[in-house]
């Protein structure tokens, strides 16, 4: 949890994927409502750049998405979270995790023999 989505930068988002995330959901305040004026607008541009990077390296741009809502919109947050989780489930594990799972399987097979 960060005090403002403006703290998010591209490397933070990419690190999440390196650490095994299948999807990353960025939730910021409503546009125009940023306590620090434009933190969420900056975050939006950065998420967009990561979207482009993920697309180019074939991990898939749909694995990252930014949502904007106010702190009072709990039910909306839950709906967005469910929607995104559903989307990521459809996409399946990220190529990184598939490769890692394959390697882990190979290792355990080797150990078993």
């Amino acid at each position: 949890m960060l005090p403002c989505t403006g703290r998010i930068d591209e490397s933070l988002l990419l690190t999440a994927f390196e650490n095994g995330a299948d999807g990353v959901m960025v939730v910021g305040c409503l546009e125009g409502d940023c306590h620090y004026v434009s933190g969420n607008i900056r975050a939006k541009a950065r998420v967009k750049r990561v979207y482009g990077i993920l697309d180019r390296i074939k991990i898939g741009p749909d694995r990252i998405r930014m949502y904007n809502l106010s702190a009072g919109e709990g039910s909306k947050f839950a709906a967005y979270a469910n929607e995104f989780v559903e989307k990521v489930r459809e996409l399946g594990p990220s190529p990184i995790n598939l490769v890692r799972a394959g390697q882990a399987r190979a290792v355990s097979q080797k150990e078993a023999t």
Binding site: E10, S11, L14, I53, R56, I57, S94, V99, R100
Partner: protein, 221 residues
């Protein structure tokens, strides 16, 4: 500052293909300011390369470093203790910095991660434009502070060519005619007499035409 643009990730992936253990070196100088080769860009590129590599079934180890400047020996030397432990260095400094690393670390292959652009200025966030070609014999005092070598697409020295139409250069509609800018400025400064003071010809021996250049300041050696 010296500007540049990132190389496409596909091109960088191809360059690093033979290697499994590299240094990715940024620079805190010009390339940090134009957001192409600073500490942040090192982090982003390193993550991107690791992800792309792993998605393809192979991992790559990357040591992320950022030197104060890659064009000064004292900072470059900071890499010497460990550079030999890596198969290659991918640098995202300007071409001068990359070459300096290559010169200092002769047994390590150097790979350029950016395309170096020009000597320019920041127009606004995300937009840079060229101002100087380092001709070695500056005439800005005669041209209202606007460089004819750089701002005139043909580097003319005696006024606009026939392709100047309503202040626009014939080379590209988005390019202002450098000479129109110069004349407008001279008029505004009430310095139109400078236009007639011009040298009969400009010597280019101090520019690139004389081959690679060196500056030796005896007073500093």
């Amino acid at each position: 500052m010296i500007t540049g643009t990132p190389k496409p990730i596909e091109e960088i992936m191809e360059m690093v293909e033979p290697y499994d253990n590299i240094i990715l070196a940024g620079c805190h100088g010009c390339v940090t300011v134009c957001r192409v080769g600073g500490e942040k860009e090192v982090q982003v590129l390193a993550s991107t390369l690791r992800l792309a590599r792993e998605a393809g079934g192979r991992t790559i180890k990357i040591r992320e470093v950022s030197l104060e400047r890659q064009c000064d020996p004292e900072y470059v030397e900071q890499m010497r203790p460990y550079v030999g432990d890596y198969q290659a260095v991918l640098s995202i400094a300007c071409g001068a910095g990359i070459q300096f690393l290559a010169e200092k670390f002769t047994t390590t292959p150097l790979l350029p991660g950016i395309n170096t652009g020009f000597l320019g200025v920041t127009e606004r966030q995300g937009e840079w434009s060229e101002r100087c070609q380092g001709c070695g014999d500056c005439v800005l005092h005669l041209t209202g502070g606007i460089c004819p070598v750089t701002r005139c697409a043909k580097s003319l020295f005696h006024g606009p060519c026939g392709g100047s139409v309503q202040g626009i250069c014939e080379v590209d509609k988005s390019v202002k005619c450098g000479w129109q800018l110069i004349i407008d400025r001279l008029k505004a400064l009430n310095q139109m007499e400078n236009y007639t003071k011009f040298k009969p010809f400009k010597g280019w021996s101090t520019a690139r035409d004389g081959g690679p250049r060196r500056i030796i300041r005896e007073d500093m050696i």
